[in-house]
């Protein structure tokens, strides 16, 4: 089942679809759902490290 036709015609959604990086989508679709969730947890860890690094830099400033 696809999304409804109204959505397919939604110009905002169509504009957003055009900007999607399909290489990332294809990469993700090759993974299992569990691998995708594990990747999400890795992204969270990385984001947390970046936030902490930013805090340290601001603390030194």
């Amino acid at each position: 089942m696809g999304s409804d036709e109204d959505q397919d015609r939604d110009p905002l959604v169509e504009a957003l679809v055009r900007d999607v990086d399909m290489s990332l989508i294809r990469r993700n679709l090759k993974m299992t759902p569990q691998q995708r969730v594990e990747q999400l947890m890795e992204m969270q860890r990385f984001a947390a490290e970046l936030r902490e690094a930013g805090r340290k830099v601001r603390g030194k400033g």
Binding site: V13, V20, R36, L40
Partner: protein
């Protein structure tokens, strides 16, 4: 950070009937967007509520963003008297939804689910077309922005891309 493995193990191990929606469902379907909490629609029969309260109790569920020390306890009575709860737990942020905007209750969403094998067991997850519908119904800026990627995944999956 959310330990999704632990969260799913706790809910599943406690016999909770739930459906994963939101950003984690988007991830499971192939989204590359970062999300920080687990959104689930839970069944609200009395036995379900009792199992949910018992399963979460050891993980110190508390209202997210609320000052510490308030007399909040996520027990069966609280869940029965409430509906949707945004929580912090020992395994991370958890949103419990008795009803999802645009999707309704657990029973209403059940026909629109797929069973995924996640962290050693089956896990009901809302299907992609319905997830798109839920995002549209939620209508927050972040939901609208997610629509483009989800729609692209739906089309790529349908075309075998």
């Amino acid at each position: 950070m959310t330990d999704y493995r632990k969260a799913l193990e706790v809910l599943r191990g406690g016999g909770v009937r739930f459906i994963v929606i939101g950003g984690v469902a988007a991830t499971a379907h192939g989204s590359s967007q970062l999300t920080n909490d687990l959104d689930v629609v839970y069944a609200r029969e009395p036995d379900d509520i009792a199992r949910l309260a018992a399963a979460l109790a050891p993980y110190h569920p508390y209202l997210r963003g609320v000052p510490a020390g308030l007399p909040f306890k996520l027990d069966a009575t609280t869940i029965k008297n409430g509906l949707n709860f945004t929580l912090d737990t020992d395994f991370g942020p958890l949103d419990l939804l008795g009803e999802a905007t645009g999707g309704g209750t657990y029973a209403a969403l059940l026909p629109a689910t797929v069973t995924l094998d996640l962290f050693g067991g089956p896990c009901l997850c809302v299907d992609l077309a319905t997830l798109i519908r839920l995002k549209r119904a939620a209508g927050r800026p972040k939901d609208i922005l997610a629509l483009g990627e989800l729609e692209a995944i739906l089309r790529a999956s349908a075309s075998g891309d």
